[in-house]
Amino acid sequence: MFAFLFALFKSDERKANEEFEREAVPHMDALYNFAIKMTGDSDDASDLLQETYLKAFRFWDKFEKGTNCKAWLFRIMRNTYINTYRKNTKEPDKIDYEEVENFYENIKPSSTDSAHLEKDIYDNLLDDELSSAISSLPEDFRTVVILCDIEGYSYEEIADFVDVPVGTVRSRLHRARKMLFTKLYKYADDKGYVSKEKNK
């Protein structure tokens, strides 16, 4: 009887481990990339990834089988990130949207064939420069850009990850890309790519 009980314990444990390995582990690269972009540092990203998987493993019994495991893991990582990295930032996020909008309108070109809107002038930008522009976005905006433009998730999936309505995802993406446009334009202008293109 005891051998049977022991075998039962062991088989349950093994089954859970196998499930975890099958369902959660394959998403590690996606989570690592998200962690890198959120923290902007490979050591912090490594710590965040370890914490996320440890929590996921501990709470594996709370994961509803058949639901989106990747979304569940992203939620754990995002919450861990907020709890760990936001502890010192106690004030709620406040963004002056009007200021962002005004700045964008000021640098926005006056016609659609303007060099400002050509991909060529940004082609010399490095991955690091683009990554640093993304990292400088406020957290809520950075998250949607990473999930949509890098990870390729739909609005509905992102809404599920971050617990906001789809309309909020859309509006954050709209604003995030406007902010990125202003930042990347400034990078390209500082490096002289814009003026070179204008003189062509």
Binding site: K37, R58, R75, I76, N79, P109, D127, Y155
Partner: protein, 277 residues
Amino acid sequence: MIEFRKDMITALVDNEINDPMVKQDVLSRIESDTSLAIDYKAQLLIKNLVKEKVEWKKTPDKVKAKVFKKINSNAKVNTSTSILSDLFERPAFSFATAFVVILALVLILLNRPEPTVEKDFAVEQFGDDNMFIQAKNNFNSIIEGKLAPQMTSENSGEIVKFFDDNGVKYSTSVPEKKNWKLLGAVVSEDKGEKFAHHVYVSKDGKLAYLFQVDESYLNNREIIKLSDDLIKYLDDGNCYTSKSEKSITLFTKIQNNICAIVSNADQKEVEKTFCSL
């Protein structure tokens, strides 16, 4: 006439407009309005730049190894079955020895106290400005019909907008829950600050009231309080439940908001629904 939302341009860029009429409307506006056409090109440019230029990194092997090591060490702490299996595998131990050891362990397991070693944080909560006390009082007022929602809606987006429009300064989250319907919301005011509350109803008519507060308010303790132990417990990713005669009070964190959920539904159902990570 309904005002055109510029973020529909973003939805077009991301191919997220399913209704062909809406899509056509957005396209027509872009064709006829240069400013919108520029916005469209700018959004498309940024999307393509990010997509093409940001490098996708594979998890380095040493990081993967660290993750597995951490999980394995946790698994070893949490279970003794691997040690038990070793007993059977080592030839130095006879089956009889292993049997005696297992018998002893099983007896210990069978006689151990209930695993409810979780600290009872409820006893630390007192005072009118305590979030735990306020949540319970508010729930009782709802049940007694003394507190009604200021707005009713089943739509989480509308409730979030209601919070924003009525002066709640922090980001709020109104998750939609399976088997529960949103009922409505209330914005309360305390010392000039606004706080967000909303209510769910289950299929069998039970209520769940959710009161969410940005952690910063609880840390500076000027308007609303909660014991430090409970805040730390929630910060560590835990969920705390306290059962009283007529209701369940549950504390958890959604993003950087501490949430109190009070409900007259079954404890397991409340925990399953609201204790999410």
